[in-house]
Symmetry: C2
Subunit: 180 residues, 2 copies
């Protein structure tokens, strides 16, 4: 199972690719951040995120994209940007017939640290250990993206088989590119 | 000035094209709704909205896309879907080098009815009158999309000239399609 984790954001969109199955050691295939300038207009920022994510999808061909589920309890301005960046991530995946899974921040923290209220440092430390890295990935958004991918591989073996079957059917029924 | 107004939503995304300049009678070139099934998964809904909007952009070649500015005060679930649909609209426009303008619901209501607190019926009635239609466009999302386009044409003649200049420069500097 190869999963691209996406920690959505307009300024820094974390991306990380993890391969493996539940119960076996996991392998990191790539980690990074898609950045867009805070002073650019929103349309151009979304286009830049789309281009960045398309490159990650082209390079790593994940079987599933795991995206952080966005809530609107938090800061209004931030949450809108996060929702918009996550929409681009879900769009890029679905357009290729790749299934999308959403996980909440506390599900991700609980999966990798055992506590849904773990802090960033703890998540970074566990991601480093679980993927046998030399140092925690920087920035935190990159580590969070890897944690999302790990969370998905561990939480949902049965769900993954179902989603891949559904996605395969969708891919047969619909063209993969966009219409224009 | 030809403007595509988009009233973003996952279930019903209103679209309306209006042509004209401030101070002269306006012309409606098209109005409709891009619908997606509420039981489809979010990724496929966003792909359907992208395809629908691409068709509207192909058919009408607007110079500007006016999108409703989303706030997160309201219902949490609804606002997330609205933010995601608006992200797709802004992405589709910016990818083609078409400038995007955002207007708040109260700006739109004030522009077409004179009151920022007008109800849906009042907006529908004024859109019908201003565009010399036989009846108010249905559903309300379609009328709201036309109201957004009218609002933009009336509010921002100077802003429009600036945005078109900036967009022309962006279009020269960057390829219009997506990378994949």
């Amino acid at each position: 199972m190869r999963v691209l984790g996406v920690d959505p954001g307009l300024t820094r969109c974390g991306v990380g690719v993890v391969e493996g199955v539940a119960g076996r050691p996991l392998t990191m295939l790539g980690v990074g951040v898609v950045r867009t300038p805070a002073d650019a207009d929103i349309g151009h920022r979304l286009v830049a995120i789309e281009r960045g994510l398309e490159e990650w999808l082209d390079t790593h061909r994940p079987e599933l994209v795991a995206v952080e589920r966005v809530f609107s309890q938090h800061n209004v301005r931030t949450v809108m940007g996060t929702a918009q960046a996550s929409a681009v991530a879900m769009l890029c995946a679905a357009r290729r017939g790749i299934p999308v899974a959403l996980h909440t921040p506390s599900e991700v923290k609980a999966a990798v640290t055992g506590s849904g209220r773990a802090d960033k440092a703890q998540v970074g430390a566990m991601v480093t250990r679980l993927l046998r890295l030399a140092a925690p990935p920087r920035p935190a958004d990159a580590a969070d993206a890897l944690a999302l991918a790990i969370c998905h591989i561990w939480r949902a073996p049965a769900q993954n088989r179902l989603q891949r079957a559904v996605a395969a059917q969708h891919a047969q029924n619909a063209p993969k590119g966009r219409t224009a």
